[in-house]
Amino acid sequence: MTTLAIPPDVAFVVLTVVTITGAILALQAKELIYGAMSLALSFIGIAGFFALLDAPYLAMLQIAVYVGAVVVLILFTIMLVHREQTPEMDERTASPENSVGLWLAGLLALAVSGVVALAGTNLPTEAPSATLPISDLGPVLTLQYPIPLIILALLLSASLLGALVLAKVER
């Protein structure tokens, strides 16, 4: 019984293209709503990476929390800003000081490929084979990290109350 699966290399390339395209579109979009949607696409790409790394639970958490809640909040905030106040982005031209980002990205790519070329054949060829089954997640969380769990509860409540108190209207 052979199991048919997607070759991991193909999946990696497709996910990289999706994530980076989403991120670039999110920065370049003229209408902020389209930018927020491209950001959602980028988050889905990242969730795909989690699934590729044998962490499907984390992938679902990413989709449910980021795309399901954070993107809604971003969209709501964008709709809050009245139309005439969105910045005009039509006057961009391709001058050298505007393409600084592209130059920096190019230099970074050059540096990384230089390092990889120097490392030669010393790179690891197999992915680490540690897979964490989902049923291990609970015991690890509660037995090995109980204090961070409690600190997380306090952090979540602090952020919740902070957000509410900051957002409410003082009368």
Partner: protein, 344 residues
């Protein structure tokens, strides 16, 4: 014998026949797959109209052919396909045309993990339940975007109300299923159904069942939680400007979501496909799901509407507390070993 690169036409035909009759193909395309999904969703449209008509002392669809107007949805579908697709003035065209497909996509995708029988599931992943919740949490985004994209006041207000209503009932839905996860010990839907072999989970987790049932009625925007779509209020809510094929896709997406939520109730609370072995397992599953769908449809003809701010308040205060109380109750039940007789 099937040879993989087929060299003669006879081998090609043998390969095609082998693929067409393989369990994988039947599962994905036919049985709990696309054809079954479309047929059941079309049937549900007719079923709702007929049931509501009988509750309201009318007759419902009658003349479209078939016994009791059974082909009425086909007539509706043909009519809607040939209508003109109107995009409102200065509406965002890509969003307006693209989101209805996304809605159908998001409603149909979770069917890949719902088990209709012991071996009748398209994709048996270990995080099935959370997969379904991740997909349903994308709905409010889609509704908000569609409401914004139709450049019009009624959809915008209706879309905002829909967004807040659906967001308010997501959390009680999740917490009530936490009790089921505690009882079953797994997020894999097949494992959850297998653990109900001796006793359906509706018995120890009855409060969770009540909370879950109410939450899915609010998620599906059915009466009595109908305010974002109420006709005297908002014409049709967030899909007011949808016409023709767009409306058909949204309608199909909503009924697929109804079928999805009903089958989720069956899987989580009503024992999935367990039943006496007189009929095959999938038949029990579909029967139970249709009974749940009936109980979701009936209140539409019976109850008055609840005001939207009261609705959101009930979701966040009462339902959340009851769901959390049931989680603690389940913890106590499991700890004291009262459920050991039934294998939990």
């Amino acid at each position: 014998m099937v040879v993989f690169p087929p060299t003669t036409p006879a081998e090609l035909i043998a390969l095609i026949i082998r693929i067409l009759t393989s369990h994988t193909f039947v599962t994905i395309v036919i049985f709990p797959g696309f054809i079954h999904l479309t047929v059941v969703v079309i049937f549900l449209t007719w079923y709702e109209r007929k049931l509501l008509a009988r509750i309201q002392l009318r007759i419902g669809p009658l003349y479209a052919g078939g016994p009791g107007g059974l082909f009425q949805p086909l007539a509706d579908g043909v009519k809607l396909i040939f209508k003109e697709v109107m995009v409102p003035y200065k509406a965002s065209k890509p969003l307006f045309l693209g989101i209805p497909i996304m809605l159908v996509f998001l409603s149909a995708l979770p069917f890949a993990v719902i088990p209709f029988g012991q071996h009748w599931v398209i994709a048996n992943i270990d995080v099935g339940l959370v997969f379904i919740f991740a997909m349903t949490s994308l709905f409010p985004t889609m509704i908000l975007l569609f409401a914004w994209a139709s450049n019009s006041k009624y959809p915008f207000l209706g879309g905002l109300r829909s967004l807040f209503q659906q967001v308010a009932y997501e959390i009680p839905m999740w917490i009530s299923t936490l009790s089921i996860v505690l009882l079953a010990g797994s997020l894999n839907l097949t494992d959850i159904v297998t653990a109900q072999q001796k006793m359906w989970f509706i018995v120890p987790a009855f409060l969770s069942f009540v909370v879950f049932f109410i939450s899915i009625m609010a998620e599906l925007e059915r009466l009595p939680f109908d305010l974002p779509e109420a006709e005297p209020e908002l014409v049709a809510g967030w899909y007011t400007e949808a016409s023709g094929a767009i409306f058909m896709l949204i309608f199909m997406g909503l009924y697929m979501k109804l079928y999805l939520m009903s089958s989720l109730v069956t899987v989580l609370f009503l024992g999935g496909w367990w039943g006496p072995a007189i009929v095959p397992q999938p038949v029990w599953f579909i029967l139970k799901t249709l009974i749940v769908a009936t109980f979701i449809i009936i209140p539409r003809g019976v109850y008055p509407r609840i005001r939207v701010d009261m609705l959101i308040k009930i979701g966040w205060t009462r339902l959340l507390i009851i769901a959390l109380a049931n989680v603690f109750l389940t913890i106590i039940l499991i700890d004291t070993g009262l459920l050991a007789a039934w294998g939990i």
